[in-house]
């Protein structure tokens, strides 16, 4: 059943009112501001904002959250370029060329390039989302519990592939995430697990409490610990208006890079379970490989900025493809969106386009509005965001702390939520101290929570006989490719290590 035109037009009409637009623009503004402050990032802002949007109309609430997500990817480039202190891992790639260019006295040229390529990548990704999600949703209905269990298994394999340089710490983070996802009543039988007879834990640990705790409070505690180290910018004064002008020619010369990075980011975003950092790294690496001035990369090359920003921003639109059609979030920010959608009575999944088609197209319109305001606010506020990036942490963190508490309280109207948030804040602090990847932990927690139900359903439907999975080709393809990918990456990592070892020993021999 294709979505009819009047539903699409109705949805577009729903989004075009003052109330909705105001909240979307507000979201973008918050996103850019939060992104501009070193140490804060989009997922943090969304974690805190989700409970605050409970009392808005569904469209305004979700539009605002998407606005924050989009705004923060633009904002993230600001501290990366001006201070060389990226707020998120993915904007670290932006800093590679952004900071050197700023040092040459052209900070605004770098910022403008980041803004334009970010919005371009984002728009590309959104266009893909708008066109493919309805058809995919129709196919998604054919995917049963077995297929869903396999797709989530595939995502889990992907995060295991990307657990970072220290596989042990990555596994520890993921393992803990899965373990804590099991808190609550077992699906079906309803046996309580790790609830200690606390009624409030029967539905499991809430993502809002865990997310705000680990992602935000943990970061704040870490910043308090490091408060001795001051960020000092050593930027020379700006080289004047002309040097900072970014002409159409500059943009066009980066056109191919933007397109390439946008495509990479879109593809990565559409894959459940992996995030924008990989997109930025891949986009940047490929741009460097394809560029004529590859040797200039890292010295303030515009193309480098464009490659990183277009890639990490184009993740945010296509991220919603698995989210809306299958109910599986593509990254941490999207996981919070699932929560927000359910709270507003919208169940992501294949029936969404039939049940709430109008709302979805209204949301798409809100995304376009968000992109336009991203461009407008970003362009007008360029000078101001530079100042925001220098707001002292002694002002930022107390405010954030207060917001954390408020968010945790609103999410359940219960003290338990706040207590959990604080506990997970302390856990997050120690994870950072021990360099255990927090994002891996949160994603494992989210996926673990989602995996259990389809897995239980699959076991019941197949009588626990894995052989019966053969009847589900989609499931077979996803499970096998997950396993293959994981063993390939492990093998490659091992052989790289061996090579590194051999080369050091041969170096020793030759000397």
């Amino acid at each position: 059943m294709p979505v009819s035109m009047d539903i699409i037009l109705g949805g577009i009409g729903d989004a075009l009112n003052f109330y909705t637009i105001a909240f979307v623009v507000l979201g973008v503004l918050i996103g850019i501001l939060v992104g501009s402050i070193p140490g804060l990032n989009g997922p943090m802002a969304i974690a805190i904002a989700v409970p605050m949007t409970f009392y808005l109309q569904p469209l305004a609430a979700i539009g605002m959250l998407v606005g924050i997500m989009k705004g923060s990817t633009v904002g993230g480039a600001v501290p990366a370029i001006l201070l060389n202190t990226p707020g998120t891992p993915d904007s670290a790639i932006t800093a590679i060329d952004g900071y050197p260019l700023a040092k040459k006295g052209k900070p605004f040229k770098a910022l403008k390039m980041a803004l334009y390529s970010s919005v371009s990548g984002d728009t590309m990704s959104d266009l893909v989302l708008f066109t493919v999600s309805a058809p995919i949703a129709m196919v998604a209905l054919m995917l049963g519990p077995t297929d869903l269990a396999a797709i989530i298994f595939f995502s889990i394999c992907l995060i295991m592939c990307m657990i970072g340089d220290d596989p042990f710490k990555g596994m520890l983070a993921a393992g803990t995430g899965f373990l804590l996802a099991a808190v609550g009543l077992a699906p079906g039988e309803g046996t309580p697990r790790m609830t200690f007879d606390i009624l409030e834990l029967e539905d499991g640990l809430s993502l809002v409490s865990v997310g705000i705790g680990v992602l935000v409070l943990g970061e704040v505690l870490m910043a308090i610990r490091n408060s001795g180290n001051k960020v000092t910018s050593t930027l020379p004064p700006s080289a004047g208006k002309d040097a900072n002008r970014l002409g159409l020619k500059d943009y066009v010369s980066c056109g191919r890079t933007i397109l390439r990075s946008g495509a990479i980011g879109t593809a990565i975003g559409a894959t459940p379970g992996i995030g924008s950092t990989l997109a930025a790294v891949t986009g940047y690496t490929l741009a460097k490989r394809a560029s004529k001035n590859a040797d200039k990369f890292g010295t303030g090359e515009l193309e480098g900025i464009a490659a990183a920003e277009a890639a990490n921003s184009s993740v945010s639109g296509s991220n919603l493809i698995p989210l809306l059609t299958l109910g599986i979030p593509g990254n941490v920010a999207a996981a919070f969106l699932v929560g927000a959608l359910t709270i507003h009575g919208v169940t992501p999944g294949p029936t969404l386009f039939q049940d709430q088609g109008r709302l979805i197209y209204a949301l798409f319109t809100a995304m376009v509005i968000a992109n336009i305001s991203n461009l407008a606010i970003g362009r007008l506020g360029l000078q101001m965001f530079g100042l925001v990036a220098k707001v002292p942490q002694s002002i930022v963190y107390p405010v954030v702390l207060l917001l954390c508490m408020t968010g945790a309280w609103i999410s359940a109207n219960e003290m338990v939520g706040c207590v959990l948030m604080v506990v997970f804040g302390i856990i997050g602090f120690f994870m950072r101290l021990l360099k255990i990847p927090v994002i891996t932990f949160v994603i494992a927690f989210v996926l673990g929570k989602m995996w259990e139900l389809p897995l239980t359903q699959m076991m019941l439907l197949t009588d626990g006989e894995l052989v019966k999975m053969i009847q589900h080709p989609v499931a077979v393809v996803f499970s096998l490719s997950g396993l293959l990918l994981l063993s390939f990456v492990t093998w490659k990592r091992k052989s790289e290590k061996r090579l590194a070892k051999e080369s050091t020993t041969s170096d020793l021999k030759s000397t």
């Binding site: 409970f54 079906g188 309803g190 009575g345 029936t351 139900l453 019941l460 439907l461």
Partner: protein, 317 residues
Amino acid sequence: MKQLSKTFLLLLISGMIVSWSAYAAWTPEESIKVLVGFKAGGGVDTLARVVSQKVAENTGWTIVVVNKTGGGGSVMAKSLKKAKPDGYTIGFAPGENFTFNPTINPRIGFTLHDFTHLAAISVSQCGLFSMSDKPWTTLADAIEAAKSGEEISVAYQAPKMGMSMKAIEKVFGVSLKLVPVKGGNGGVKNVLGGHVDIAWGAGIQAKYVKAGQMKILASCEKERIAMAPEAPTVRELGVKYVNLDAKFQFSAPGNLPADIAEAYVREIRRATGSKDIQDLIANKLSLKLIFTSGKELQKDLEQSLTEAQELVEFVKN
């Protein structure tokens, strides 16, 4: 004569005062909290909000709806029990929160009798449904098919439904594949995609039934449901333990003073009498309109507590 009329006048005035004070016995002086045990935006929450708003409009009371989610409504029930019985905290929940939940988990920390139950305003219209192209007319046919070896899967979204399915299995001596799903939408999605044969639905399936895409195999209530009056109840098919009977009701902490309870019952009755609320309940939420309060409601709840205990006992032994 003069004296007499004076006395009469006094009597009249005092009579008016008495009757007036009996009528407006209790008026809240601060804001009222209505606790809801489910997420904002869901069916229970919508109903609570709409009725509360109407009561507020009619009376000028300040009413705030607060969602206290968790444990299938039990978190809310526990905090309602702990609240002061002063009329400023009441709750809105399906009756099974107070009857079924403590039956399956005796350590839950509350019983049906810890509350003053005010008024029930609607009752569920739950049925078992499948795609229309299945060869069965009623649940009995599906069970026959299962008996002759066909694998039949049934999706359920709440513990009471799972328990009821086990009772059905036990009575007919048949084994079905019971698959837990999340929310009514989980059942619809899996039946539409052909992953599960039959599912429980409390109203979400209505539009597919109307379109002829799905059919109701049995009613899971005491009576046949309005959506499909031709489908027999599971009780008619011989399983007396199955009666979902989720009555949506307002309750207050135990020992609520009688004048406060009276004021609430009166205002809830007045609010649910309005056309738009009746339309929401019957047409949008596919529930049945009822109004029971006081002793009658207490009797209904005792009845459903006994039924819940019988169901659990039958399945467990």
